[in-house]
Amino acid sequence: MPVPNYEPWDETRAAEVIAEAAKQDGACMPILHAVQRTFGYVPEEALPMIAQTLNLSRADVYGVFSFYHDFRHERAGRHVMKLCRAEACQAMGADALHKHARDKLQIGWGETTADGKVTLEPVYCLGLCACAPSGMIDGKVYGGLDNAKLGKLIDRARAA
């Protein structure tokens, strides 16, 4: 499984990314996305830089950052595995599947495996409700999951 390629934190690089995204109207969200896409998370150091660019207070930017489930303050595991917990997936046995995944990974929701390889997160619907249960690993979607299929994906994620 390919490993997402994030850059190490670098202030000059961050300034570049922020300046580029700041060209859009209502730039705060696009900037936060761009920073997270570059570094894999939104480092603490980026907040005052974003605030200054947008002429906002650091608290304002933090307010936006913290409102949205997607933005993270710390690096995640090497792979981010999101499993859908919403109704259509539940109707197809997602709860039991998730228990299997948590047992296999030996972590709970929002946690990262001890080897730093996998972060497990809940997601509420991926629009794959006709291919339930579903999940997404590093942005790639998977439908029709069962213990065997998900188990194999977990093994592949841990191998890389």
């Binding site: 291919c131 439908g143 029709g144």
Partner: protein
């Protein structure tokens, strides 16, 4: 020999079931035989239990095979799939499959059929006819036609689209906006995703019609981050439309400017609520605004704004091209036109079924959906997403119509139908609804923010057997408070799934069913 032509569905649903791997295997199998083939990338036709469904062009028309796995590819090619020859996975002509044959595909007419990347193919399949019509009619007549068609918002609230457009048209302003709501957060729904990934130019056409009609020069498509594939396909389509002059300073040669930008959500369900979405696009926390002012008067950046769901906007080109009356002829009562019903969860024929309003819920679940995928009896159906009510079998005679569902304490919402078999624990589903509300609440009103947390605690007590009757009464009170004390439908409608579960399935809460 003429070059072989294969159609590969590449929407997130088909990809999630392996269509990309199948395509690679197919390329390798053909290369081995020195066969030159053209691979056309389409969206999905929406028959997900048959995906990946691969089609080949034959002199008799397109022939479908599915569900194809990587392991089937060699055998399929050897069997003569490229000539449409028999094989156990051969489905015949897709349009003859009962699931498709019985639909009225207006909005989804091209989805899964056209090359989603090709402007030429779009035009060859009646693309831009609606926009041409709108430009010849002029703004007022276009808006009037949309009103006359009876089209109501497909995002959930069912507000007449033409009336919304008229308000923006009549509101003076140098800068106006069109915002497309592609947040599609409801579990059980994927119609917006299918259009964006299967026929993106339809949405661009619909938004352009809206723009030139109400006098907006700029549009935003707010797509949820859970849909990376939609973002990718839409962005490419926008780039191509811009290059072709459909978008830009002189959009489609209209003499008017119209351009589009995509904004990506960040995992907040509440940002599907229109005013919260506007704040999010402006770069703020996605908190719900009090109304008035209406977005049509003071919307994005304080300017007059049309905000519509993907399907509302994507239905407009067909309506313009075929006339208001043609659209009105579908549907029942005050629900006119067609609705893409999205069958999801534990249902045998899982997929998108576009049809006029008016089928009963039983026809949808049992006849079209074919009952459960597990083969067990259907016990409950949630219609309209996480804020929609759970329907038991004895309400299956309810027609799929906005007013009829409201009368039964439910809602159609965005058209998602999630089927559960008899292993479902409805107390758990009620708890989930409350928990979801507490996770996703924007925090603005106390009944929603605090009430949902109290709701989870109360349901937990009922499940544990603590003073069940008293706690059930408390839960009903709490739901009442949330219903009337919440600013938006997140806190206001979560009582629907909770109370319908409690009312129709009391035994799952350890309560005695009351005599009817």
């Amino acid at each position: 020999m003429s070059q072989a032509k294969l159609y590969i569905p590449r929407d997130a649903g088909a990809l999630g079931l392996g269509s990309s791997d199948v395509e690679m295997a197919m390329i390798a199998a053909l290369k081995k035989r020195n066969i030159d083939a053209d691979f056309v990338h389409t969206g999905s036709r929406g028959l997900y239990w048959l995906e990946p469904m691969i089609e080949v062009a034959t002199p008799q028309g397109r022939i479908a095979y599915g569900p194809v796995t990587v392991d089937d590819v060699e055998e399929l090619v050897a069997a003569g799939m490229l000539d449409g020859k028999p094989h156990r996975l051969r489905l015949g002509k897709p349009e003859e499959l009962p699931f498709l044959k019985h639909q009225s595909r207006l909005t989804f007419a091209r989805c899964g059929i056209v090359d989603r990347n090709s402007l030429d193919d779009y035009r060859a399949h009646s693309g831009w006819v609606g926009l041409e019509k709108a430009l010849s009619l002029g703004p007022a007549a276009t808006v009037d036609l949309v009103t006359k068609s009876g089209l109501r918002g497909r995002g959930g609230a069912g507000f007449p689209t033409g009336i919304k457009w008229k308000t923006v048209l009549d509101t003076p302003g140098a800068q106006k906006y069109i915002v497309c709501n592609a947040d599609e957060g409801d579990s059980g729904t994927y119609a917006d995703r299918m259009i964006m990934e299967g026929d993106p130019f339809t949405l661009i056409e619909g938004m352009t019609i809206a723009g030139v009609s109400v006098g907006a020069t700029k549009g935003f498509i707010y797509i949820r981050s859970e849909y990376p594939h939609s973002i990718y396909v839409m962005q490419r389509a926008i780039d191509r439309a811009r290059k072709a002059g459909v978008l830009g300073a002189d959009a489609f040669g209209s003499g008017k400017a119209f351009d589009l930008d995509i904004r990506e959500g960040a995992g907040a369900y509440v940002c599907g609520e229109e005013t919260s979405m506007l704040d999010s696009i402006e770069g703020k926390r996605g908190q719900v605004r009090a109304k008035p002012p209406l977005p049509a008067h003071k919307g994005l950046f304080g300017k007059p704004t049309v905000i519509n769901n993907v399907i509302s906007l994507a239905s407009v080109p067909w309506i313009l091209a075929n006339g208001a009356e043609a659209y009105m002829n579908f549907g029942m009562g005050r629900s006119r036109g067609t609705m893409p019903i999205q069958l999801a969860g534990n249902v045998r024929y899982r997929g998108l079924f576009e049809t006029g309003f008016g089928l009963t819920l039983g026809e949808i679940v049992d006849d079209i959906g074919g009952g459960t995928a597990s083969g067990r009896p259907v016990r409950a159906v949630q219609v309209g997403g996480p804020l929609g009510a759970y329907f038991p079998r004895n309400l299956f005679d309810t027609p799929f119509d906005i007013e009829a569902f409201t009368a039964k304490g439910g809602l159609i919402g965005h058209g998602g139908v999630v089927v559960f078999d008899d292993t479902v624990d409805m107390a758990k589903m009620a708890r989930f609804a409350m928990e979801f509300c507490s996770i996703e609440s924007c925090g603005k009103c106390t009944p929603c923010r605090i009430g949902s947390v109290r709701g989870v605690e109360t349901i937990d007590k009922i499940i544990k057997g603590e003073r069940r009757e008293a706690n059930a009464a408390l839960l009903a009170d709490l739901c009442d408070t949330m219903k009337f004390g919440s600013l938006c439908a997140l806190g206001g409608f979560v009582p629907y799934p909770v109370m319908s579960a409690l009312t129709h399935f009391p035994e799952d809460f350890g309560l005695v069913r009351k005599a009817a």
